[in-house]
Structures are given as structure tokens and as C-alpha cells.
Subunit: 197 residues, 2 copies
DNA sequence: GGGGTATGGTATCGGTTCGATACTAAAAAA
DNA sequence: TTTTTTAGTATCGAACCGATACCATACCCC
């Protein structure tokens, strides 16, 4: 038997290449590159602690200088908005503009992926997610970068009541929808790293 | 619950980005780009029906012109060898040179991945492989490109005896090791697309 | 056969990405 | 206050990458 972990790496690479082609196809209509699509998708999902150029750079595995250029382009096209952080004036906050949101909802970069996965049971998807998530966690352990996981599966995320959550890392209240976004400081609960087989 | 297929896409993208950074790190010592590492890894695994520039282009999701340039560079560096096909003189065959093999075995681009996955059980890896494989298969169905799977899991691969296999697509004999390589014409057996849960 | 078409590969061009470096401004530390 | 660290930007050059054009070989059809 071929060493399975390498096969898995191969599949991940290939899936990424296929989606990269898809993103290129989608972006070409607007003159956007695959990396721009990825950036927009990240901003769609990043929570309010993670919507900065630095976080995006770490997420994409690129240097901040490189990402800065891409953001400049997205800003010129009116797809994102940049504004200064309220407390730390060095920090730039990013969000999708109306145009950016409209672009994403019209071009739906994940549509092909949705189609390709529609016949896979929720259980199988969930299982694979847990496996890949643990690999991401390990990889970034050796890499030094932040893990970027969903807020609600984080050890710092505590449920206070039906609708109120609390992040003990940032010490701030979170709404329900917020806990479903991606956070750069996320540390996954062990239950989400090793799901029973 | 956040829509899980999209989470899966996110993880795949992120894993690919992490490995891309790793490939960049590894390649920088030799002045190679991530795409060159990917090409070398592909050539290490491609079987004798799939070791052409065209196949590599489809595998990477790039145009043949683009890939031709990368191959030129790898050839100049002495990492690969190019030779004419015996029967179809338009076709160029590719293989790793001794130097190329040495480079891969020394730099071991997959080492980090191996480390990150060492604590994941073979069963969980196998399960995830089957899920991702079916997504690749679906994606390329809509994309038109070849699927690129492992020969031994192909409907055209028939076992004749202990050591002899036969490909009913190309109509040629295959050795045991050959059936563990990657083929562009692979059509997965259904058993490898939907594994029981 | 022979002419048209399809296919695999290369060459060249220009636009874009990307890392490296240097720089500014703000925050944190000493 | 001075020094150091951190977030972000600007600039430059190398490389990727797609588009187009082109060549050689193979295939098809009359």
C-alpha cells in the first residue's frame, strides 16, 4: 500500500489546484486573480479580531508586503473598505464593501465545490473536517503561524446563555453569529481534534 | 452549524497554502519555486502513461505553455530528463534525473506533512482520502480534466497473478510497483468512491 | 495516397504575483 | 525619553502565468 499520508497530501494539493483554476475562471471576468478571490472569501468569514492585513497574510502564507498590494487593488476596485482601528492606530481593519459582498454572492466561488460535495453525507464531511483540522493545527504548530479556526470550537469560547457567548482570550462578549466566524487566535478544543472513529 | 462543505474547502485551501509556504522554504535553497517542487513530486509518482508535459499541466491546472517554461528550468538545472516518445514523436517524456531524485530524497518536501499526520490513525487517513478522492473525481467531472488516481484503484487495472497486472485501457502489462503510481486515465472503482461509514 | 484538421510541445510577450528591502508611524518597553 | 517592537506601505526585480503564435507530428476523410 502506498503511504497514505502522502496520498492525502497529493489529494489536498490537487483539490487546491482545481479550485485555484476555478477561482481564476471566476476572477477573470472581473480581472481578479485567484489570490484576490481567496482574500475576499477570507474577509467574508473573518471575525472582528482577524480582519487585518497581517492576519490575511498569515492565513494565505504570504508576506505582508505582498498582501498589502493585493488589498490595494481590491480597495481601488471598491470591493473592500479599509478603516483605522479605534484603539491601535497602526492597525488597519478590513471589511467587504457592498460591492464586494454582491460580487461574492453573484460569482459564488464555492458553487462548484458545493456541487462536487453534494452527494457526500454530512457525517463523512464532518469526519474529514476533523482530520484536516488537526493537520492544520499540527502544521501551524511547526510553522509558528496562527491556526485560524472557527470561534465556536475554541477553548476560549464560553457560552453564557442562549444567545450570549464570551471570549476569555480577548475578554469580550460575542454574539451567536460571531462565534461561527474564523478567528486567528482559535485554539481548538480537544474534542474537535480527535473525533471518535 | 456552519455549512460544512465550505469549512472543508477552507481547510483544503489553508493546508495547500501552508504546504506552499513549506515548498517555498525548501525550494529557496536551490532557487526553486513551489511549482517546481510540485512538478518534481508529480514526476516522482507519475506512471509511464502520465509523465508528459501535457499531463503535468492538467495535474497542476496550468496551461501547457506555462508548464513548458518550468520544465525548461528544471531541465537546465539537471533535475529532470526529457526524451522523445518511442512511437509518437510529438510526445516528450519526462523523468527525474539522478540529481532530481537526490534532491527530493534530501529535501523531503513531505517531511513536515508526515510529521503533522503521524498521530492520525491509518483508518482516519484512509477515510479522508476516500472523501477527498471522490471530490476530486466530481470536480474534474465538471472541469473536464483527467482525474489522476492511483493505478491499482482503477477499473481498468486487472490482477492477472501474484505479480502481474494488466491495464485494459492501454492494453499493457503492469508490474506491481507500477500499479502504485499515479495515472491520468484512472477511473476509480466505485468501492473507492463511497466507502461505508 | 493527399489535404485538412487535431494534438503535443515550444517560443515570445506582457501583466501580475511575490519576496526582499527599506521606510513610516504608532505602540510598548526600558 | 530613548529604544525596540509591531502594523502597514512603497519600491524593485525576479519569476510565474496566460495568451497567442508557431512548429512538428499524427490522425481523419475524401
Amino acid at each position: 500500500m502506498l503511504k497514505n499520508p502522502v496520498v492525502l497530501l497529493d489529494l489536498v494539493d490537487r483539490l487546491a489546484n482545481l479550485m485555484r483554476s476555478e477561482f481564476r475562471r471566476i476572477g477573470s471576468e472581473e480581472g481578479l486573480q485567484p489570490v484576490h478571490i481567496q482574500a475576499l472569501m477570507f474577509l467574508e468569514q473573518a471575525n472582528r479580531f482577524s480582519n487585518t492585513p497581517q492576519a490575511l497574510a498569515e492565513y494565505l502564507g504570504l508576506t505582508k508586503g505582498t498582501v498589502s498590494q493585493s488589498l490595494l487593488l481590491l480597495d481601488r476596485r471598491g470591493l473592500i473598505e479599509r478603516y483605522q482601528d479605534e484603539f491601535d492606530k497602526r492597525v488597519v481593519r478590513l471589511r467587504l464593501s457592498q460591492l464586494g459582498e454582491a460580487f461574492l454572492s453573484e460569482s459564488t466561488p464555492a458553487a462548484l465545490w458545493q456541487t462536487a460535495t453534494r452527494d457526500i453525507s454530512a457525517n463523512r464531511v464532518r469526519f474529514s473536517v476533523s482530520v484536516l483540522r488537526s493537520i492544520v493545527y499540527e502544521l501551524q504548530n511547526y510553522n509558528g503561524g496562527p491556526p485560524f479556526g472557527v470561534c465556536s470550537t475554541c477553548i476560549y469560547c464560553q457560552r453564557k446563555s442562549q444567545r450570549i457567548h464570551h471570549c476569555t482570550w480577548f475578554g469580550e462578549r460575542l454574539s451567536g453569529p460571531e462565534t461561527r466566524k474564523i478567528c486567528r487566535e482559535q485554539v481548538p478544543k480537544t474534542g474537535y481534534l480527535s473525533v471518535a472513529e
